[in-house]
């Protein structure tokens, strides 16, 4: 009896080890660019796969922000969407299958049908003023007045609470108000810089201000603001939280944050409570996707990694021998199977990995699961 139990346990251990092993092989030249193009075009976005297996890649092209490819990688069409879809996901919700996207250049979120028609929008005005209107006001240095590229001195940072033709009023961190005359050379910069969004099982939409102060906003499925958490201060202390994803491998679902500035990934509850760090000391995690119990991650400084549900790194793909973080590597210098600066990533429906890069010519790589 004891021997039988030992045998069964050994078999189970071997089986679980075998099932935990994952291996991929690089699939060269997967994407066929649109007719007349040698590459897909300026990439600073995301890649996703719909339920039919079609591949969607965002590029920075006016009125053609997403290109659609078939399962075979052949170009099908471009969708008439904004040029700055820095982050997007394709999710099935009660009403159907949609693209949810953060429009970086317009500080808004859109929900679109798979044909590109927009069905819902969360405009800038729907975000809370405390984050939306946070600005830094500066003034051109006197000795640089009139120069084409003047240096500036900072005057103050705070939430813009009023503005007239002649004055700007900020609410400062200490609660006081500061009135700044809008004289020549005074300028205000700041505001939201939305980099990604995802959808929770209950339909709530999570949006991150990844190029701003890393705030995470929660809206209901109709686009009504519900709450905000994250940001640069305790307890999460985020820095350049580049993209966020709802991690449905867990019950209840969690939020997975690519805290790129800290080179780490972390989990929070959907309410924003810290669960824990998944990994640290990474090559700047920028995007992620899930399939079964696996998560693949695009690390912009030159790596694609695959992780199991326990947070163990189970594979590395396309690793650049030296760290990189630039969109400027030209096609003639691309090496088969070696990434440059991974920016977006997705599993397809069969567990194969597709990755898009921060690259001004546009590049997509694919690894097939063995």
């Amino acid at each position: 009896m004891q021997r039988t139990t030992t045998l069964i346990l050994t078999c189970l251990a071997l089986f679980s080890k075998a099932s935990a092993e994952v291996a991929y092989e690089f699939a060269p030249n997967f994407i066929t660019p649109p007719p007349g193009k040698e590459t897909i075009g300026d990439g600073h976005g995301e890649i996703a796969v719909d339920s039919a297996g079609n591949v969607y890649v965002s590029v920075q092209e006016a009125n053609a922000g997403i290109q659609v490819y078939g399962k075979d990688g052949k170009f099908i069409k471009a969708l008439s969407l904004p040029a700055s879809l820095h982050g997007f996901v394709i999710r099935k919700v009660a009403a159907g299958e949609f693209i949810f996207a953060a429009v970086l250049g317009e500080s808004k979120v859109i929900q679109a049908n798979l044909d590109g028609s927009i069905v819902m929008e969360i405009p800038t005005a729907s975000f809370p003023a405390e984050q939306r209107d946070f600005v830094t006001v500066s003034k051109v240095k006197a000795e640089d007045a009139g120069k084409p590229k003047p240096r500036t001195d900072e005057i103050a940072s705070g939430v813009k609470i009023a503005e007239t033709k002649t004055e700007l009023t900020l609410k400062l961190a200490n609660g006081t108000e500061k009135v700044i005359a809008k004289e020549l050379g005074v300028r205000a910069a700041g505001g939201l810089k939305l980099t990604n969004c995802d959808v929770a099982p209950n339909g709530d939409i999570y949006v991150v201000d990844g190029y701003g102060k890393s705030w995470i906003f929660v809206f209901d499925s109709k686009g009504k603001f519900k709450s905000v958490f994250g940001g640069p201060s305790e307890p999460l202390k985020l820095a350049n939280a580049h993209k966020i994803f709802v991690d449905r491998r867990f019950e209840p679902a969690r939020l997975m944050i690519c805290d790129r500035g800290h080179k780490r990934m972390l989990h929070t509850s959907l309410q924003g409570a810290l669960i824990g760090e998944i990994a640290t000391d990474m090559r700047n995690p920028s995007s992620a996707s899930f399939h079964g119990n696996l998560m693949c991650v695009a690390e912009i400084a030159g790596n694609v990694s695959v992780w199991d549900k326990e947070g163990k790194r189970v594979a590395d793909l396309g690793t650049s021998p030296q760290p990189t973080n630039t969109p400027g590597i030209a096609p003639k210098d691309w090496q088969a199977g070696i990434v440059t600066s991974p920016h977006g990533i997705t599993f397809d429906n069969d567990g194969n990995i597709l990755e898009t890069e921060w690259n001004k010519w546009g590049r997509v790589l694919r690894w097939n699961r063995k």
């Binding site: 690089f26 300026d42 820095a239 080179k263 590395d316 030296q322 030209a330």
Partner: protein, 214 residues
């Protein structure tokens, strides 16, 4: 654990990729209307006075870099972003020589020529730190603290016109850089005395050999 070239099995066509090579390949950064500025700080290294003087020019773009929203964070970053490793110890740059900061909007000399791009018509705000140090050692390396938030592109132009560069992430240490330390006056005296002693010995040896041969 961040993957390195030694502990990672890259899937598909791995080729040798020599240190410093990747940036030589670059043609230029794009003019990204919706993107952000440089994600890294640039540190230009110059070896002056026949290699006896190290000059570093570290540049941070702030405002458009999501990690450096304002000049305050840029100032802090420049003061802490790099350390120097010598004789097995790491030092803050400011412990060895002062850092002087100044603002600029000009990009000239900030990046290797191969990746510096033409003016894009957008406003850029840079903060630069200049640092000069006369070392008394033959080899140094630069490191980014483990707790550092910023990546650093360390680069230098060689007399051949080539550019060497590498991106340092938190916890990374550059390859050792050979320098030619200036001789300390006391070292010169020691060398002169040694030379004098050697000549004296040779003269005495010659005298002895002549005497014994006669």
């Amino acid at each position: 654990m961040r993957p390195s070239s030694s502990n990672i099995q890259a899937a598909g066509g791995t080729h040798p990729f020599p240190l410093f090579a990747f940036l030589i390949l670059l043609l230029g950064l794009p003019r990204l209307g919706f993107a952000h500025g440089y994600d890294f700080l640039s540190a230009r290294l110059d070896l002056l006075n026949d290699g006896s003087l190290i000059e570093l020019t570290i540049t941070a773009e702030y405002g458009s870099n999501p990690m450096l929203p304002d000049i305050t964070t840029a100032t802090q970053a420049l003061q802490e972003v790099l350390r120097i490793e010598s004789r097995g110890q790491d030092h803050r740059l400011s412990d060895l020589a002062p850092l002087t900061l100044h603002q600029t909007t000009q990009q000239e000399g900030m990046l290797p020529p191969s990746i510096a791009h033409a003016e894009d018509g957008q406003d850029h705000q840079f903060l630069q730190a200049h640092w000069r140090w006369v070392p008394d050692i033959a080899e140094v390396a630069f490191s980014v603290p483990k707790t550092g938030l910023h990546d650093v592109l360390l680069w230098r132009s060689l007399p051949t016109g080539e550019t060497q560069s590498m991106l340092l992430l938190s916890g990374d240490i550059s390859k050792p850089i050979r320098i030619h330390p200036q001789q300390h006056p006391s070292q010169l005296i020691v060398w002169l005395l040694a030379a004098f002693l050697l000549i004296f010995c040779l003269v005495q040896l010659r005298k002895f050999l002549l005497a014994t041969s006669n």
